[in-house]
Amino acid sequence: MNAPQKPHGNKPGSRPLDLKNGRVDMSHGAGGRAMAQLIEDLFVGEFDNELLNREHDAAMFTLPPGRVVMSTDSFVISPLFFPGGNIGSLAVHGTVNDISMAGAKPYYLTAGFIIEEGFPLADLSQIVKSMAEAAKEAGVSIVTGDTKVVERGHGDGIFINTAGVGVVRDGIDICGDLAQPGDKVLVNGTLGDHGVAVMSKRENLSFTTAIESDSQSLGDLVSDMLEAVPDIHVLRDPTRGGLAATLNEIAHQSGVGIELIEDAIPVRPEVKSACELLGLDPLYVANEGKLIAICPSDKADELLTAMQAHPKGKDAAIVGEVLQDARCFVRMKTGLGGTRMVDWLAGEQLPRIC
């Protein structure tokens, strides 16, 4: 399709990367030949795009007309591999989604790696492959990056940072402070899947479930949603802190209250029961492939239909509405018929024993 690809693989006088049994060592971060080989064979080899293949320190590109959106996120998840994904796929989905939540189409990503000495190359290779797949599915390219290696004991295996750019076309205005009383609140699917999937793998938890992380890129879903309803007021992805934290943020930014209907919130039965066993509330559990949309009430049904028509929104639901409330409380009508608050969470959600 374009300029001839630079050959990857063995340079004369060097040994190929031992992806099966090899480990990252300090030379891989030192800026010398070992590092160049790691970058070329592994990163450039997998991410493989025109901009990256030129191997400049910086990537140069032009963007289509519109307002430019930039976002960054760092990923420190433990464990690195979990049902439904790994730190790599998460790193791509996370930043792609942040860009999409501004109503922007994402184009390019950076990827910075901080790797602990001794980290298995097999794991690194798997992570990088996952990033490449995730980028391809999301229609973005990883065009520049950085690699550092830290001494053993000074890093948790691997940390990844991704930053991304995208473009918002004219006519779209989405921001956390634009929710209006009367607006409806929608989600694109079941809540709590990611957090429970990750917790099921961590130490101290010894149960087996069929729950997988919902980690996925939402750019294509958002695109369909904006086609159907261009005047969506707010989009946000409920990651750490779950639906509760995100709605509280929005309520405060917009100076409104929000009321949820417990029975309308989609939660998988296995996630419900895992939360019961752990004493967790699904409203506070992290999601990595979900979004909240807030739109004018007369457009809610149309938006719901558009979401449900997309595979990443098939379980979408209207879960609440925005109210006039100077205290900016988020509350919920419980399944029982009473009402409770859905407050910010203090600290990490420590599972109840009581």
Binding site: F207, T208, T209, A210, E276
Partner: protein, 80 residues
Amino acid sequence: MCHAIPAKVIAFRDDDMADVELEGVMKEVSLALLDGVELGDYVILHVGYALARLDPEEAEKTLKLFAEMGEAAFAQGAVA
């Protein structure tokens, strides 16, 4: 400190341990505090131990009681 949840016993393991299931989620718990548990029994779990066996007949009776209380109140013309 009472957080406890009923789950079904689906398999026995060594050392007084057992697998229980709660709607598709399986967990290994200790039966050290209960005697005579059988497969299919529901047990009340607390901090990794089964504390009591749930009596299905009593559970039914209790649910019926809730319904009767409500019906009687409505029948007397009470308004919510």
